[in-house]
Symmetry: C2
Subunit: 417 residues, 2 copies
């Protein structure tokens, strides 16, 4: 029997290479069950402002969905919007549920990270308390991989594959001259080191790469780092270090804050604005050049690491799609307040199944890299980390090339391609 309802889907938080694969999973499964699919333009914030996309039309051609799965960032647009506490602002929820009813919405799917799961948590609790028939399901997404309740999050594997690929190419590039050099590669993840740690996947048997991995979970001992670099430079020409943007000094300041201070005596940039969260690599390159006298270079992977769908992980995109679909089935079965999750069964061969995690066990918690994944000296990750992360980057997706460049789905509203 057809699921005679409208379902509503939104994307929230930072872009990834896999978030549109989850959207495709929600869309295909809901359509297959007979529902109509509405999209929130720019997340819950846009929806509440009346911005709805009719995906049945937008994704009317099967090739649209195929391209959508290969398109990075957030096709529907995103927002960063924290819902108020239900007991503090009931009018907000009354208004939201009225809008859901006006749009004849039977189920809401929200694809995102921590804040998005908080949104689903609050909406489902309000719905339960008021006997709403609307089902609320979270679909996890974040390159940071810091959500609890799931083995890992879609988006992480593709970002990790890009990081490992780029790290290996950078290492190769840095070694062509017969001279001593240290290259610092700055990687995203302010509080959790999952992305920075994934740089270890650039290594091969007997040839570890990068040489050092500095995670935000470990406070920097700058003297120990410089001593270690000096020892390494005695043994080999070129050193490559992966460093998280969120590494801190012992006094708690971020290295990138120290970088801004060193440059002009304040934490403001040259035009009086607060410096952005980058510069950790530049700071370390500067300190290392001054202390050791060798050539140094700082490279920021920047937003490239979260949107590089041209080198996406096939495992990641397949999981993202499956978790979207699993969430729809869960809502169709009448359940609410859940997050689609991955339960790992085995590392090699990699086996997993999709399960549901109660959303209140997920929202507003953060998962950091555990101690046993970090080397004793705090300057690298262990073989356990590699064993965990390796299967998530395996498998390649073939982009659809047009004119030599990966082709994406046409943006909404005539936004840029």
């Amino acid at each position: 029997m057809a699921w005679n309802t409208n379902v509503l889907v939104g994307q929230s938080g930072g872009p990834t290479a896999a978030i549109n694969a989850s959207l495709a999973g929600v869309f295909d499964t809901a359509r297959d069950l007979g529902a109509h699919v509405l999209g929130m333009r720019y997340g819950i914030e846009g929806f509440l402002a009346g911005r709805i996309v009719h995906l049945d039309r937008t994704l009317g051609d099967p090739m649209d969905v195929e391209l959508l799965r290969r398109t990075p960032a957030s096709f529907l647009g995103s927002c960063r919007f924290k819902l108020p506490q239900p007991d503090e602002d009931p009018a907000f929820y009354e208004n939201a549920f009225k809008k859901f009813a006006d749009a004849r919405v039977g189920a809401v799917f929200y694809i995102g990270g921590n804040d998005s799961m908080d949104t689903i948590d609050k909406l489902s609790r309000w719905g339960n308390a008021h006997n709403s028939p609307i089902r609320f399901i979270g679909i996890p997404k974040t390159i940071d991989n810091d959500l609890v309740g799931t083995d890992h999050t879609p988006g992480y594997g593709s970002a990790a594959k890009y990081i490992a690929t780029s790290m290996r190419e950078i290492a190769r590039d840095s070694s062509v001259y017969d001279l001593k050099s240290v290259t610092f590669v700055e990687i995203m993840g302010r509080d959790a080191g999952w992305l920075t740690g994934s740089a270890c996947l650039a290594g091969t048997q007997g040839n570890p790469c990068p040489d050092l991995v500095l995670l935000p979970e470990v406070t920097l001992d700058q003297e120990a780092l410089l001593n270690r670099l000096a020892l390494l430079l005695d043994r080999k020409n070129t050193i490559v270090v992966a460093v998280s943007e969120g590494v801190r000094h012992r006094d708690g300041t971020l290295l990138c804050e120290a970088a801004a201070e060193a440059a002009d005596g304040t934490r403001l940039d040259a035009f009086g604005h607060v410096a952005s969260l980058s510069g950790t690599g530049r700071y370390l390159a500067s300190v290392t050049r001054a202390a050791l006298g060798c050539k140094t270079r700082a490279i920021e992977l920047s937003t490239l690491q979260r949107c590089a769908s041209h080198v996406a992980s096939a495992t990641d995109l397949a999981e993202a799609y499956s978790l979207g679909g699993a969430g729809v089935i869960e809502a169709h079965n009448g359940n609410t307040g859940m997050m689609s999750s991955i339960r790992r069964i085995f590392d090699k061969p990699y086996l997993y199944d999709t399960v549901m995690t109660p959303i209140e066990d997920v929202a507003n918690k953060e998962r950091k890299v555990p101690r046993e994944f970090i080397s004793v000296d705090g300057m690298n990750v262990t073989a356990l980390f590699e064993r965990y992360a390796r299967p998530l980057i395996e498998g390649e997706v073939s982009p659809t090339y047009l004119g030599g460049v990966p082709h994406h789905i046409t943006p909404l509203d005539g936004d840029r391609a």
Copy 2:
């Protein structure tokens, strides 16, 4: 009849994604003709210090050559070494030719950019003047595409394909929030804008991307740029600008020098060292944020753009391989003092043949982006640029993946993978 000689091949200058394909072309063709192939470790500088690699052994397995073609940077290692003028330092040349004779070298192939062609020019002139039987041939290579005497240079197409792919992904990433933003993407090429201009290949019909392209061939009019950005922001949310690291103010200073000055009042960094040639994007992001009040971001493609063999252009790698082989055939035919070159026959379909250019017509000249490839306002490239560059990025190479990461040939001397 077998070519019973040793041939010597070296790589010089900055790394690219295609320089090893040229090495593979030299190797395969020389071997096929019956010669033995010696490699210079770290270019002519390393060779003169006695550092020779026996490539017949190193590349003994056909899979080695296949991996070599897919491996970025310079497999043999590189140097930046300018040969003295023959009349000023004849002892240098007597020593070099003695070393060629000691190694029973009948032909020398040097893969590189401007300085490398100068090396071939000087060696072949000395050889001619002293009736040496040794043949000297240059194989062009530079992502900068600034050599004369050839339609374009191997390495450029793959770098351009990476730039166009990344630019499109960055544009997509930058447009997810419902707010005004300007993103500056800083691209290599200090004096010639070929690489920065290739960003235009990210655009699709009716959807140009990036919005502006700032080349080193055009002096920056900062006021005009800010006015233009303000106009663009009235029309759309997200603006993306490709900017060369080599863009200069009217007074001739580089923008990145201005950035360093603004930060601390000097052109030195916080530790008293000369600031490196980057920061152009950061400078413009800072100026734009101050003037227009919108969100800004600076992204440096850094060395990633020259070593991203995972997204190499099949056209580029095939040409690099062919030019290596064509150079060997030319030497085998008894000629010297030439550079293997590409002559374009047609744009679409792209047709070319390989020809030889006298090396003295190439060395120490520089080809900049011509005026008709630059828009009248100086803030973009024209359709002619796209027509020129598009065929060079067409076609995809499938990397050999191992553990989810592109696999490369094992480095020499246990250097890093």
